[in-house]
Amino acid sequence: MNWAGWRRVRQAVQILAFAFYIYLIFGVVEQRVAPPLSNIFFRLDPLSALGGMLASRQWITGLALALITVGLTVIIGRVWCGWICPLGSLLEWISFRSARQRAKNISQKLRGVKYFLLATSLAAALFGSLSLLALDPIAIFTRTLTTSILPGLFYGINSIEKALYHLNFLTPALDTFEGLVRGTTLPVEQPAFAQSLAIGMLFAGLVALNLLAHRFWCRYLCPLGALLGLLSKVSLLRPVIGSACTGCSRCARVCKPGAINPDPQNIEVMPSECTLCLDCMASCKPDDIRFRMARKPAAGQDFDLSRRQALGALASGVAGVLLLNTDLRLRQDNPWRIRPPGVTNEEAFLSNCLRCSQCIKICPTTALQPALTEAGLGGLWSPLVVPRVGYCDYGCTACGQVCPSGAIPLLALEEKRQVVIGKASIDKDRCLPWASGIPCIVCEEMCPTPQKSIRLEEANLIDSSGNTVTVLRPSVLRDLCIGCGICEHHCPLEGVAAIRIYRASS
């Protein structure tokens, strides 16, 4: 097969990988049993693996698959970036003609930013903080799809359906559509997430950077790309321009990532920046750009971090951790900082959570929400249980199943049912029977524990009209309560529920 043929193979692999990624994103709608492979992209991601293992100071077997990616990179270079990464593919497809001209005006030095980010992230990880893993490309894409793009899409579909249901002749067609997708591809409950607009706009901004240069993110910013770029400097096979070169520099012109130094005297492919798109090989008239064995590491580039810059990156990572850990929010014991089931130690959790959003994606009740500052800025986009939005389903263990790093432990259903994530507490000044003499026992009704963690006591009291009424008044049996939050979720009171889950003090 010639290079043009291989290029088509690459495009096919990209499309397949992207489609598989999107399929997995949709595959977890409303499911309490995670589909196999649902977190495969994270498990293949060496940045997540390295960061996660550094910060938690343990070998995480689930992330060992990243060695495959490392191995491939050491053999042939950034094949992940050009062939597999779904964010990279998306950014490649959203391409602007005008970007080529603009990219010429961007200093090559800017490419160093990604190495700086990588060094900072890993330094922070070494000191126990994974906050910067939020910049992992797979995490960015998953988080944006989960909290922003998909909820918007679902809302749009629901709105259109609602409108079309008024046209009677369309009802059978809509019913058929509903039967095919509802509860499997489309969720029954409309998901809603904190910060959906903000996360969506950040993503839009990231895509808009493509106006400045092709795959701007991948070229200049991506810390995973930086890690793979460093590995590519020592890869066995590298695209090398052979002696038949006529100096036409066509290869440099077609190279979309700009990985070929166009200086005709010294024309060469920079392996750290090459995403193996094969365009240069396909365009080379003498057909003399080949993967060739190389023993020595690739030559350094202007934009590689100088020793001073590298130290600066490490220092800023460390300083960041020090400051994040002195965040007042961490000292104030936030009673609503409720973590997914099985998480016991907040500090260990933050050193283990990859900020990947997989748990948020799979939670069937959208109880899991991305944190903003509840756990300090360092806990940005880590998962929080927000019971008023959604309860922790008594029959579900999905978050533990998809968590690639084990930050949320994988629990059997029976174990998970015993796990305490918080404790309910009743606000007797607002609770309908306590405060107003109105009969209501929804919290007790919903309580899933077999012996009921809410006790009802009969009480005679005088209601607002002066009549003596007998009502059942709920109170929480603290020893039995597991804090699943279904009582808070279904409390019929408007606004803040009269029964709330507070973080269980350990």
């Binding site: 008594y394 209501c440 279904h490």
Partner: protein
């Protein structure tokens, strides 16, 4: 390659127009929903309204229901299947026996047979109680799958075109709760379909007889179906003491929180709107405490009983006696009786007790 812009102006405008049209349609949604569905609902409701005891006489002329208990019950079923066409159809049938399928068939047969409910081409909805996705059927928190599947088979045998089974669980998602309850497997094996209620479809409908609530957002198919069979499981429930037929209807509305401000009357109001043509109460296993969610096998009592009636109030009143209560003890049953939706007086009606060993 020609230097074409990624999207031409014309295409951009086309796309904009499409989106705008979609948005305009979406925009009119909330306004229309208050008016349009109301008339569709009331018209759809009318032909099916009164499940009066007299209706049962239709059953006398109908041929004996085709050999119901074919596979399972060759010996015991025949004596009970025969009395049905000869005797007048019962107002309520209570069947006891170890085989849930056989007692379900026997109970419905005693009411005049499924063919007194189903005509060829009918669109049938069966509403079991699938309140959560927590427990398997032995825990008696969700309706017995065999009872549901038997009703599906009977409707299909009687010529129904489609039988859909649906509920809206409050704990867990519909698909998972359907599966864990065992109802998905049983219903699909019987040829019925599990249906997920979509929020997009709920419409606001007026409750003409409503005393406390005058309108409700309801899943419209429940009102539009040719036949609605209400199949609750008899369970304890601390707010209402028991969750039976009337309480089971809460599964078809969107906002259940508001129901709790005056639960008994509001369930009665809802019952007046929905008025299922047939109520079959599953008391094969009953949950005697810690309902409706359950989870402790010690609270489960094997009763091997199925109660069937056109009168939801009478069926609930009878089921209450299994717990040592009466219909009058249960707020929504009493209120429904007050509204004339059925009778609480079990001594005044023809109850056929069937014992299948």
């Amino acid at each position: 390659m020609k230097p074409l812009p990624p999207i031409s102006r014309r295409n951009f405008l086309k796309l904009t127009a499409t989106v705008a049209a979609g948005a305009a349609l979406a925009g009119c949604a909330p306004k229309q929903s208050t008016n349009a569905p109301a008339d569709t609902a009331t018209t759809a409701l009318k032909p099916t309204i009164p499940p009066s005891p007299t209706q049962a006489t239709i059953g006398t002329t109908s041929a004996p229901p085709e050999p119901g208990p074919t596979e399972s019950e060759p010996t015991e079923a025949s004596p009970t299947a025969e009395p049905t066409p000869t005797n007048a159809p019962a107002y309520m049938a209570v069947a006891h026996g170890p085989d849930p399928a056989a007692i379900t068939r026997a109970a419905v047969d005693a009411l005049g047979g499924i063919s007194s409910f189903v005509a060829a081409g009918y669109d049938v909805i069966i509403k079991p109680n699938i309140c959560t996705g927590y427990h398997t059927p032995e825990y008696a928190t969700t309706t017995n799958p065999t009872v549901v599947a038997t009703l599906v088979s009977m409707c299909l045998e009687a010529g129904a075109e489609r039988v859909r089974v649906m509920d809206y669980p409050f704990g867990g998602t519909a698909k998972s709760a359907y599966a864990i309850s065992g109802i998905t497997d049983a219903v699909e094996a019987a040829g019925g379909e599990m249906h997920v209620m979509s929020q997009a479809k709920y419409t606001q409908v007026e409750i003409p007889q409503g005393i406390d609530i005058r309108s409700v957002d309801i899943y419209p198919d429940v009102l539009e179906a040719d036949l609605l069979i209400n199949v609750p499981i008899a369970k304890s429930h601390d707010a209402t003491r028991l969750t039976l037929g009337g309480k089971n209807l809460m599964g078809v509305i969107l906002d259940r929180g508001m129901m709790h401000y005056n639960l008994g009357q509001r369930i009665a109001d809802l019952t007046s709107l929905v008025q299922p043509e047939l109520t079959v109460i599953d008391a094969v296993r009953i949950l005697t405490a810690h309902g409706p969610t359950g989870g402790d096998l010690a609270d489960v009592k094997q009763m091997d009983t199925v109660i069937a009636s056109r009168d939801i109030v009478a069926a609930d009143a009878y089921a209450a006696t299994l717990f040592g209560l009466t219909g009058a003890d249960i707020g929504y049953v009493q209120k429904s009786a007050d509204m004339g939706l059925g009778t609480l007086d079990l001594s005044s009606i023809n109850i056929q007790e069937i014992n299948l060993g």
